[in-house]
């Protein structure tokens, strides 16, 4: 039985000494990580962290507010292109450029939130899908954004700190990721987050209790787009080169899959979902170089699955793993976590 002595205990970040301990362990691990592994894994970690920001942002919209978006690659593109063009054309320093670009994404998020006031479910999915597709088409048409040729990211300099390696960039990405995840968690725990969840569970009742649906639905879209814009801006410097073909519908769907596989309406779920899916995305292709199994899988793929003759078993495995998670645990990875926690609480009974 847990005794509460203060109402602040309901919402505070560190619920006990144990959580403080684990948080410190996590921070120490994240700080030491680049020195422990090969450079390639630092790149993988950067890629994961960026996806974590997107997934946590998209979760605000899909998991907490109960809206849907198939167009988040659009906000991602706005963040990436916005940051790069502001830096190259207007010579804005990196951090202001990043926030301005994310602000632009948030503004488009607000606009996309307006139709959401009247549409829901599949209809809203189509509207957001249209948005995502349009953004890349428009960017591809404008020479200002490099058109089809794409844009090179400039050198990344903050003050006198020149971040020209993956390791240095890692620290920037991690600080931004941790700050944003904590900020989102705090928002969800307080008044705004409660209003989001209320809209998802019973929007009529929420409105009758004084929640302004227009403000809070568009706010959810804008906030979600802001997070995605920040992630997009960072992603431009992971790739160092951006072109419209990167920001596809598949990307939007992958973002959505991260949130759903991780567990809707859970920040821990979004983090693990994003990590798992981005890791699988980068690593599953290595399966072909596994001893024995790899060659067998490759021939299997050539014989039965592939149309073009190029091995595609990694995509099939990817899909299979996602189906398996959703089939055995509809609440996603978060559901598995909840069950494990319950199990250990009552262990050995």
């Amino acid at each position: 039985m847990d005794m509460k002595r203060d109402y602040y205990e309901d919402i505070r970040f560190f619920t006990s000494g144990v959580t403080v301990f684990w948080f410190v362990v996590l921070i120490v691990f994240l700080s030491a990580f680049p020195f422990l592994v090969k450079n390639y894994y630092v790149y993988v970690a950067n890629y994961m962290a960026i996806n974590v920001i997107v997934a946590v942002g998209l979760n605000i919209l899909v998991g907490y507010t109960g809206q849907i978006s198939l167009g988040h690659a659009g906000f991602f593109a706005i963040g990436a292109y916005g940051t790069v063009t502001l830096m190259t054309s207007a010579h804005v320093p990196f951090l202001p450029a990043l926030f301005l670009a994310a602000g632009t994404a948030a503004f488009f998020g607000f606009l996309l939130g307006l139709p959401a006031l009247r549409l829901e479910g599949p209809y809203l999915a189509i509207v957001t899908l249209g948005f995502g597709l349009t953004v890349t088409q428009v960017i591809g048409k404008l020479d200002f954004f490099g058109g089809r040729q794409g844009l090179h990211a400039p050198d990344l300099v903050i003050g006198s700190w020149n971040l020209d390696t993956d390791r240095e960039f890692y620290y920037l990405v991690m600080v931004i990721t941790v700050v944003m995840v904590v900020a989102v968690r705090n928002i969800i725990k307080t008044r705004v987050g409660r209003a989001f969840i209320a809209i998802r569970d019973a929007d009529i009742a929420a409105e009758a209790m004084g929640v302004n649906l227009v403000v809070f639905k568009t706010l959810a879209f804008a906030l979600s787009a802001f997070c995605t814009g920040i992630a997009g801006g960072l992603y431009a410097f992971v790739l160092r080169f951006i072109e419209p073909e990167i920001f596809t519908l598949l990307m939007s769907i992958m973002f959505l899959a991260m949130v759903v596989v991780g567990g809707l309406g859970s920040i821990m779920g979004s983090i693990t979902g994003a990590c798992l899916l981005s890791w699988m995305d980068l690593q599953l292709r290595n399966i072909l170089s596994f001893p024995h199994v790899g060659t067998w899988l490759e021939s299997l793929s050539r014989m039965y699955f592939s149309i073009t003759g190029v091995s595609n078993i990694q995509f099939i495995l990817f899909g299979g793993i996602m189906i398996a998670i959703m089939l055995f645990e509809p609440l996603g990875i978060f559901g598995i976590w909840i069950r494990t926690k319950k199990y250990w609480k009552t262990w050995p009974f």
Partner: protein, 263 residues
């Protein structure tokens, strides 16, 4: 100026008149019941008052201010709260959080102050604590301590009704619309509910508009009763007067009972 006044209210859905020419006024501190058979337009009236429907004609005035055309959240801000006939709780939140949503109106924490919830002393931390204290008072008042941290989706029906009442009270309303608060409750839960409704009137000074089918309860606690059928007023008066009205007897006891002399 009456505390709450409805005048010549009419609304129709595709040619079907759900309410026509309905007028009444409610005094401050009153328990005012609205009864009538199913489909008489009782819930439609509530939906017009709190802004879910926009009436075709007529006016609704609360403390002199017109409510027609106002969005539900603006109506709530004026000091009108309601419960729903079919429970509309936030089923993935616990009882405490449901009640805290009722405090939404009285809180100010936005995105930025919410994001920077750094400790008890921060604006958001302070505001959360103060409002959780208020929510806790309502939990005590309505005997909800045992389900304080339970997800409301899993609670028994009767308890969910009480949580809805708690959430409405958390907005600190001046006028409370209760849509069948006792529906589906057992007699013990009903007794509690009647007790609370009287307390809300007496101790908190809240004016109550009540829709209820349980006649014993309505006759017991109401100060005045409005009877409607087919969206029109049948009669309006004290419980005693309403009980003797021939059309009410006809509607509730049947045609023959109305023709026989009342004992």
């Amino acid at each position: 100026m009456p505390f709450f006044q409805v005048e010549a209210l009419s609304i129709s859905f595709g040619g079907l008149a759900a309410l026509s020419d309905l007028s009444f006024s409610v005094e401050k501190g009153e328990i005012f019941a609205i009864i009538g058979p199913n489909g008489a337009g009782k819930t439609t009236l509530f939906n017009c008052i709190n802004g879910i429907y926009r009436p075709g004609e007529g006016s609704i005035r609360f403390k002199g201010q017109s409510l027609v055309g106002m969005r539900p959240d603006r109506v709530a801000r004026c000091g009108i709260a309601r419960t729903f006939q079919n429970i509309e709780l936030f089923s993935h939140m616990n009882t405490m959080e449901n009640i805290m949503l009722g405090r939404h109106l009285h809180m100010k924490t936005g995105l930025f102050r919410g994001a920077f919830l750094w400790g008890k002393g921060s604006f958001a931390g302070k505001e959360e604590r103060e409002n959780r204290q208020k929510a806790e008072e309502i939990i005590d008042f309505l005997d909800l301590q045992s389900v304080r941290n339970a997800f409301v989706g899993a609670l028994p029906y009767g308890t969910q009704k009480v949580v809805e009442l708690a959430r409405a009270l958390a907005t600190e309303p001046e006028l409370l619309l209760l849509d069948e608060p006792c529906a589906g409750m057992n007699s013990e839960e009903k007794q509690d509910m009647i007790f609370w409704i009287k307390d809300i009137q007496d101790e908190l000074g809240v004016t109550i508009l009540l829709i209820e089918h349980d006649m014993n309860m309505v006759m017991d606690i109401s100060d005045r009763i409005l009877v409607i059928n087919f969206g029109r007023q049948v009669t309006l008066g004290t419980p005693d007067a309403v009980q003797r009205h021939p059309e009410v007897i006809k509607a509730y006891l049947g045609e023959e009972a109305a023709l026989e002399p009342h004992p």
